[in-house]
């Protein structure tokens, strides 16, 4: 009996040690990430997960990251932060201290990334995010936080400046948005660009994410009858606003969202009701971007469709761009796994020196970690597809304006 117990104990101990032994044998880059795979941002978080997996699979298909002629495959570890920022910080701390991963990739959602990047800063992990853009992320004097997206307030520039291309030019606008970090900043951005363009702001209100019924709010907007309705949104807010707009029977001449319509579910869920909607974006497949790993923007778009049965959202391509910068920094420095703290410091320094063209566009990080060389664009849903409509020189098609009232649309 005692022998049996001892045997069992040994088996248990060796089972516990096994992953460690396996870890020692094959040299690979272990890269972790905390993402909202469930909860309010569950859909958005899963997109970013797909994007990182796409990047890793592409690299691993060639054997991995090549350092001095030797290939080191990439292994990804995903944790679900349940759309909760405290959870995100906790999981990232676990990645840094318990899992001891080589690198930590950026999550999704400004609030979560805000909390998580404080942890990566503490443990000196460079974090390049493609799924968060609130200005506050860049105002903390952090050295290890980078973003491939523009700042939230600047991301929505296209949605407002497009007014100059419209005939008749819109005179009035209303701004609504949920009062979380990213969307309230988008609302702030809308406001400042409206001022620059001398468009009158007739109504503005922020509401909590937990708001059940959008109808009362949109009736108020309807009464003000603005030419433009600008919404600070994530996917679920964008869907709810569209549903409510139809129920209150109101369609302004132009409606734009800071985020949401570029996620495939938007058009899939709303069908024809999604037509005319304009959205801020940072990437579109028709732009002339390319790199050696993924080819042109168009090629990435098609290859992505082959793998996932859907086209990538700009946040996904921004995340791929972010992973690429870290990969290139490692390659340039010739670092091999496991990465030590000194290695990660060198990666951080290398990222600041970087000025590269990627499939996502040009990436050059400013002193605050924001991508300073990336112009925002605006897309519109036309015949069930996203079409680039702003800026003029990148536009695939002219913008549809004014949007038809609900009653005049054919089903």
């Amino acid at each position: 009996m005692r022998r049996l117990k001892a045997l069992m104990l040994m088996t248990m101990i060796s089972a516990l040690l096994l992953p460690g032994i396996a870890r020692g044998q094959t040299a690979k880059f272990r890269i972790g990430c905390a993402l909202p795979l469930t909860g309010v941002f569950g859909r958005d978080g899963n997109l970013v997960k797909d994007a990182y997996a796409y990047w890793a699979d592409t690299i691993n298909a060639k054997g991995g990251i090549t350092i001095k002629g030797k290939n080191y495959p990439v292994e990804l570890l995903f944790f679900d932060d349940k759309s909760d920022q405290a959870e995100s910080a906790k999981l990232v701390e676990r990645l840094a201290t318990f899992e001891k991963v080589d690198l930590i990739l950026g999550g999704f959602g400004s609030d979560s990334v805000f909390a998580a990047s404080a942890i990566t800063e503490k443990y000196k992990y460079p974090m390049v995010s493609g799924g968060a853009s609130s200005n506050k992320l860049f105002e903390r004097g952090f050295k290890y936080y980078f973003s491939t997206l523009g700042k939230a307030t600047e991301e929505v520039r296209g949605c407002v400046e497009i007014a100059d291309m419209l005939n008749p030019r819109p005179k009035t606008a209303a701004i609504i948005g949920s009062d979380v970090l990213f969307t309230s900043l988008a609302a702030e951005g809308y406001k400042s660009y409206l001022k620059k363009l001398n468009i009158e702001l007739v109504y503005s209100e922020l509401f909590p994410l937990s708001l059940d019924d959008y109808n009362s709010l949109l009736f108020k907007v309807k009464q003000k009858n603005p030419d433009m309705l600008l919404v600070g949104s994530h996917l679920v807010v964008a869907l709810k606003v569209m549903k409510a707009l139809k129920e209150v029977d109101f369609m302004p001449k132009m409606v734009a969202f800071s985020y949401g319509p570029t996620v495939p579910d938007f058009i899939k869920s709303l069908g024809k009701d999604a037509e005319y909607v304009i959205a801020a974006a940072e990437w579109a497949p028709n732009l002339k971007y390319k790199d050696a790993v993924f080819g042109t923007a168009r090629q990435l778009n098609e290859a992505y469709f082959k793998k996932y049965g859907r086209y990538p959202d700009y946040v996904e391509v921004a995340s791929i761009g972010g992973a690429l910068t870290e990969q290139w920094a490692i390659e340039k420095l010739g670092l091999v796994p496991p990465l030590k703290e000194a290695d990660r410091v060198r990666i951080m320094e290398e990222l600041y020196k970087m000025d590269v063209m990627t499939v996502y566009g040009r990436i050059k990080f400013g002193p605050d970690g924001a991508n300073v060389e990336h112009p925002p664009i605006a897309v519109q849903v036309q015949n069930g597809k996203l079409v680039t409509v702003f800026p003029k020189d990148a536009a695939e098609k002219p913008v549809w304006y004014p949007a038809k009232a609900w009653k005049e649309r054919k089903q």
Partner: protein, 296 residues
């Protein structure tokens, strides 16, 4: 004159919007009240029953193009079947234990159902968009969305149907007897466990139906349940725990107050007002505004 008209129109619109939203609240809260009234169980997986009903409608519509209103019987059936099975095999074991046991039990089921749905259907946000989605009609300056009007009507009909069932029908009377005096009911030959399972199936069924209804104008996803449970709890406390017409009154009241707050103050306050009301009622009138609810 023009300005005055606009003011009146806005007020009327706010009242109509609130009334219709109240109908939605009532539709998905009456099942919660029924189950509490009879079994004294605060059903924490109530929201998941709504989710099951909503997804039943969604899948039938998406895969087979069945009109959402025609899918309602299937939504009722799937939710009540689930409710029946869970009650029969799980809740019946804790129904006479201290309340904490049933909280834990239903909370566990809430987690299991939400996560199973997440595995099966992923975290995608979905919505049923029919050719008539969002359609409505206008009475003067007031816009009335059709789907919500239908929900409102159905909520009223169900409330009265259940009320009638409990007051007049033999099975309904057995349910009431069981809720009033378990021991006495047993003595006169009522099979309490059967009554409980029947009640649960009924409560779950009307909840599932509400889920089917809301899928046409709300966004649905596997983890949508908990906020609905919380709202249902507030509605039922407002109207009186366990008193069926109370769910209707509580729902309408909450809907109208929220809508007026959102229209004249801010949308943010309209969310807070739910809980402010909850506190006021619990302190001043724990039997609900109708004074007919159960108090422990």
């Amino acid at each position: 004159m023009e300005g005055e008209k606009a003011v009146v129109a806005l007020l009327l619109q706010a009242l109509v919007t609130g009334l219709l939203m109240g109908g939605v609240y009532a539709a998905y809260s009456s099942g919660f009240s029924l189950i509490f009234g009879v079994m004294n169980i605060v059903n924490i997986f109530h929201g998941e029953l709504i989710m099951i009903g909503a997804f039943t409608t969604y899948w039938l519509f998406t895969l087979y193009h069945v009109d959402p209103f025609l899918t309602l019987p299937v939504s009722i059936l799937s939710a009540s079947l689930l409710g029946y099975v869970i009650q029969r095999f799980l809740i019946n074991r804790v129904v006479e234990a201290p309340p904490m046991m049933s909280y834990l039990c239903t909370f566990g089921i809430h987690l299991i159902l939400a996560n199973l749905a997440l595995l099966a259907w992923s975290a995608d946000f979905r919505t049923v968009t029919t050719s008539y989605s969002g359609e409505g009609f206008s009475v003067g300056p007031i816009t009335v969305p059709l789907a919500r009007l239908a929900t409102f009507g159905i909520a009223i009909v169900t409330t009265f149907a259940i009320y009638w069932f409990l007051e007049k029908n033999r099975h309904g009377k057995a349910i009431r007897a069981a809720s009033q005096d378990k021991e006495m009911a047993r003595l006169v030959g009522i099979d309490i466990r059967k009554v409980y399972a029947l009640t649960f199936a009924l409560g779950a069924g009307i909840t599932g139906m509400a889920g089917g209804l809301i899928s046409t104008y709300f966004v649905i996803y596997p983890q949508m349940g908990l906020p609905y449970t919380i709202t249902a709890f507030c509605v039922v406390v407002l109207g009186g725990m366990g008193y069926i017409p109370g769910a209707l009154v509580g729902g309408l009241l909450l809907g109208i107050i929220q809508s007026l707050t959102a229209t004249y103050l801010t949308s943010g306050l309209s969310v807070a007002i739910t809980f402010i009301l909850l506190f006021i009622i619990l302190i001043l009138k724990p039997q609900g505004i109708m004074g007919r609810g159960a108090v422990e």
